[in-house]
């Protein structure tokens, strides 16, 4: 099963600093992200598979990573705009 989306990405909340890929996206690809009615053009620094996240703004080390308008973890290193955001650069706050 492969999900294709012409929309490509989804941002849930105006405070989010990550977007979710709605289709498999490739490194070097430019995607358009709409946040608060403002359109940002972001060049992806990694491949982003369906359902995975990438940064829509720079997230310095030790900052909150926000999805659904809530904190889903803390960045464990500097994450650049367009970079894959996952277990290699985010730690859970709670566990």
């Amino acid at each position: 099963m492969k999900l294709e989306s012409p929309k490509k990405v989804l941002v849930f909340h105006r405070n989010d600093n990550v977007a979710v890929a709605l289709t498999d996206l490739k490194r070097g690809q430019e995607v358009e992200v709409e946040v608060n009615g403002e359109k940002l053009k972001i060049t992806l620094l990694n491949d982003i598979p369906f359902g995975h996240k990438f940064a829509i703004r720079d997230i310095p080390e030790g900052r909150e990573v926000i999805k659904y308008g809530e904190v889903i973890g803390i960045s464990s290193k500097f994450i650049k705009t367009g970079e894959h955001v996952h277990v290699h650069n985010v730690k859970s706050v709670k566990v």
């Binding site: 989306s5 989804l10 359902g51 809530e70 889903i72 973890g73 859970s92 709670k94």
Partner: protein, 386 residues
């Protein structure tokens, strides 16, 4: 803004969206007889109660609360309680509590009536009268704020947290903003995001109760050698893009929207006010829905990724998916497809469309689970049968 809908106003003022006559077996020993009675009368439904005896006191209380809650649910016009006669569940307490709503309630006890056939004969004659009387109750125009809805997710996949849950969350926020009430549940799925949900609590008491309910479950699981926090998210979740447990849990609880948490309910307990309530239930769909409907929910918004046929004996279940393949494959069971991934609509647009679908269902449109007579029922138990 206010929205008017067509509902059944019960003698206690509560509003239902269906007009069922319900046959309640107090114990598994009377369930088959109850089913024969309900099957004999057009317009009657029953629930297959697998418990009610040889259980420890706390679990007997859960069963009684579920049965009473089903009987009291405003989707039910009248109730026949069918007991065996020697079960742990107190037949008369069940009947009396349901009768406190003002709706007609009768009782038949198999050991007193003298066996299956006499019970069926008496039961059918009572239920036939109930059905004819219930038909006289007409829908009336009421404000949508009288509606108690519930949110459930099951058979989830990567599209659930991305599309179906946010879409249902949008519709639920809208219902709450219009003065309605919503129950959501599944304690296991809140673990990891409880601190975030607690921040939305109306008071410190509500936040403390939420955290206490989570701790109670985690302590029990730990006593059984299970550690949810340590084993989540699963390798499959991580491969799917879920990074942390709080992200996974947020993806689940977003189905209940974003409004203030007004209270935390025990299994099958009724909300005391309007707005958003959390109920302590297991993650298992059927037992979770049974608890929320026992708590007074008159309809269920059910998100799914992989698809499931689950319905409810007395409440319409609106099945929602964001997965186009699942919708095509499981069209028999899924009512609503949110075409967000295909780029045909936004979460907000799909949420508006779902809200309108919910109004049609409130006003009488049967859901697919109703049309196919899906009447799954199961009561949560915490301890072994003895």
């Amino acid at each position: 803004m206010s929205i008017r809908v067509q509902g059944y106003v019960r003698p206690n003022g509560k509003v239902g969206v269906r007009n069922h006559v319900l046959v309640i077996p107090t114990v598994v020993c009377s369930a088959e007889t109850a089913m024969r009675i309900a099957d004999s009368v057009e317009g009657a439904v029953t629930i297959y109660n697998q418990h009610g005896c040889c259980q420890l006191p706390y679990d007997v209380e859960l069963v009684e609360r579920a049965l009473i809650g089903y009987g009291k649910n405003p989707n039910v016009a009248a109730v026949l309680v069918v007991g065996l006669g020697c079960e742990s569940v107190n037949i008369h307490r069940v009947a009396d509590r349901i009768a406190s709503t003002g709706k007609p309630v009768e009782t038949v006890i198999i050991q007193e009536a003298g066996g299956t056939l006499k019970t069926i004969e008496r039961g059918v004659s009572i239920v036939k009268e109930f059905v004819q009387e219930a038909a006289k109750i007409k829908r009336e125009e009421v404000d949508i704020s009288e509606i108690i809805a519930s949110a459930e997710c099951g058979g989830s996949d990567a599209t659930s947290g991305l599309v179906a849950n946010p879409v249902v969350g949008y519709a639920i926020d809208k219902l709450i903003d219009l003065g309605g009430t919503v129950i959501f549940s599944e304690t296991t799925e809140v673990i990891g995001a409880e601190h975030l949900l607690a921040r939305r609590a109306a008071s410190k008491e509500v936040a403390d109760k939420l955290l206490a309910v989570i701790r109670r479950l985690e302590d029990f699981l730990k006593s059984q050698g299970m550690d949810i926090r340590g084993s989540q998210p699963t390798p499959g979740n991580i491969a799917g893009g879920i990074t942390t447990l709080e992200e996974k849990s947020l993806g689940a609880i977003i189905k209940a929207g974003t409004r203030v948490l007004q209270g935390v309910l025990e299994y099958g307990e009724e909300p005391t006010g309007k707005g958003l309530y959390f109920m302590d239930t297991p993650g298992q769909d059927i037992e979770s829905i049974t608890g929320m409907v026992a708590g007074g929910a008159v309809l269920v918004l059910f998100t799914t990724g992989r698809g499931t046929p689950t319905g409810c004996p007395i409440a319409p279940v609106i099945k929602v998916t964001g997965n186009p393949y699942t919708y095509e494959k499981m069209k028999d069971n899924i009512d609503f497809y949110a075409a967000v991934i295909e780029g045909k609509e936004t979460v907000k647009e799909a949420g508006e469309r779902l809200f309108n679908e919910m109004i049609e269902v409130i006003n009488g449109k049967p859901t697919k689970s109703e049309a196919l007579k899906h009447r799954e029922f199961g009561i949560y138990k915490t301890l072994p049968t003895i």
